[in-house]
Symmetry: C2
Subunit: 336 residues, 2 copies
């Protein structure tokens, strides 16, 4: 097991601490009632990939919406930068108005965008985020320009030598995804960058379970997942079975469990962190992404795993009390 978490110099390989590679998406957020999910046959809390035609249909059925930059790992990168971290990003948008919004929202936080908006191809991706009265979000995603991200976008110069390269499971859904992820992992390992993987959602894990396990065996250092995702990853029957499966693995697993808090397992080290109670959950969009941002910011600042877990929890607690997956003010403001 490489002991790279023990030293302060962990993130000193580059001025960039965290580089994300992921689907670049603008969220179209609207409140819906429970019947709406039934009408479009969407499992509550799921993320469904849809084509442009279906996107038009879904949008046409939705009420007035709010547009905000989104995307899972993109949210994490934005959150990390908002906390004061130095971040970079690889992801494809088209040079259209939604693409401009996505790039602006990243750049305005100081994120170094390493992929030029495309002048041809599909429009910028949009995720229709349907928020039910319980605060749960169900997503219908048209990937558009994301599907055209290619291995050519992932090079030694576009990646550089960041402290960590953060990937998301959703990238495996796009045509050149598996190849570009492998290329990114190779470059990262050669440069001494660590590799983190966010598992995206349990359906995504079901789709790519073998590939994820192979990546975790061969190059991924840190895995971010929620309870359902790790259960799907190990085809386990319970969370206890997951903990058994982790025994002997050298990777760090950071597992969020909603109201049950979070658990970090790294070799023989285990940290359990309670959730913070909130009066009302407005919208769970981006809860896991915000946790990852806070956790990685703690790690980049040389904090203990206990502190990292607390910082992740703090950020996630903030984001579920607003609409949209990114907090505009510093999400750790008031943290103690």
């Amino acid at each position: 097991m490489r002991d790279f978490f023990a030293t302060d110099s962990f993130f000193m390989t580059d001025s960039i601490q965290l580089l994300g590679i992921s689907n670049a998406i603008v969220d179209v957020l609207a409140h819906v009632d429970d019947d709406f999910l039934q009408k479009i046959a969407a499992p509550r809390g799921s993320m469904t990939l849809i084509d442009q035609q279906r996107a038009r249909e879904i949008y046409g059925m939705m009420g007035p919406a709010t547009e905000k930059s989104g995307g899972s790992v993109a949210n994490t990168i934005a959150g990390f930068a908002n906390l004061g971290g130095r971040a970079a990003y690889i992801g494809r948008v088209k040079a259209d108005q939604l693409g401009e919004i996505f790039v602006h929202d990243m750049r305005s936080l100081g994120v170094d965008i390493r992929t030029d908006p495309a002048t041809d191809g599909s429009p910028t991706a949009r995720c229709h985020v349907l928020i039910t009265p319980d605060g749960q979000r169900t997503m219908q995603t048209y990937l558009g320009a994301c599907t055209e991200l290619s291995t050519a976008d992932v090079t030694p110069s576009s990646i550089g030598t960041p402290g960590i390269v953060l990937l998301e499971g959703y990238v495996w859904d796009i045509a050149e995804g598996p190849a570009l992820v492998n290329k990114a992992i190779d470059i990262a390992r050669k440069n001494g960058s660590r590799v983190a993987l966010s598992l995206s959602d349990s359906f995504c894990v079901e789709r790519h379970q073998k590939e994820f396990r192979s990546a975790i065996k061969n190059g991924v250092d840190i895995v971010f997942a929620d309870e359902n995702e790790v259960i799907a990853l190990f085809q386990a029957k319970s969370f206890t079975e997951v903990l058994d499966a982790l025994d002997g693995l050298s990777n760090m697993f950071v597992i969020t469990r909603s109201a049950k808090g979070s658990v970090i397992v790294h070799g023989s080290e285990k940290v359990e962190q309670k959730a913070i109670k909130v009066d009302k959950v407005i919208d769970t969009t981006g809860a896991g992404d915000a946790y990852t941002a806070g956790f990685l910011f703690g790690l980049a600042s040389g904090r203990s795993l206990v502190d990292c877990a607390r910082m992740g929890t703090w950020c996630a607690t903030g984001v579920i009390q607003q609409v949209g997956g990114r907090i505009e003010k510093n999400a750790l403001s008031g943290f103690k």
Copy 2:
């Protein structure tokens, strides 16, 4: 003085109760500190018209933003439809992504859009809404496609015979604005529709004071304004002077006064309505527009002026406790 407020049949001339003609704008909302306004030399609470180059500069200086359909009278039309009113709308967007957002947000509320998105010309308008910590909003507007709204868009068939035609002062800022407003007033009067005018902002009133007074003398039945706007309209020194100036006018004046409530003057009738206290003002965007929506919905439902003022106040109170100028749920939910 035409006594058209006395009968239930007032709004029965068409199935459409309210038609708006205005600048169709998507808001780009972001929180800024007070220094930001100084840096761009924007008077607090003002609306400044900017060109595309300046829009790029301002946007480039802003932090992460949220996009929501906006526009003053457009907000009122959306709010009126959201309350259950039957509404139609004339305003120009381009057939681009922001234009699609604007049209979607209107149509999803049942608003009958009477202007096709333009396939050529300038992009859809955007208003950079800069929200300071006190909840005040300062606006930097790039009018884009709005400037190309023309007299050809305003015809007997596009207007129809709605109960009320609602205009906004900002329309006088665009090239064919004065001509198309006159045309709209002519059509409305021939069809028995009433004409309402929202004065937009005090700077706008300064720009077009003579034209507004002429319109109010010749065809406008109801004037919506805040205190600063009516003071500018009558070049008055105080609100008391404004009330004197109203003496003898046959128009209905609906005047909002922020925390001081609102006053409706219609001939010898005068209604004073207190404001509702709120713990914290989040964002004043759309406060006046929401008031107008609630007030006109009351009028369309045959309510007394006292009730109309209460409904307007209720809607305005709701909208200042959120970010953005339109409430997604029914703004009168819980009204009593």
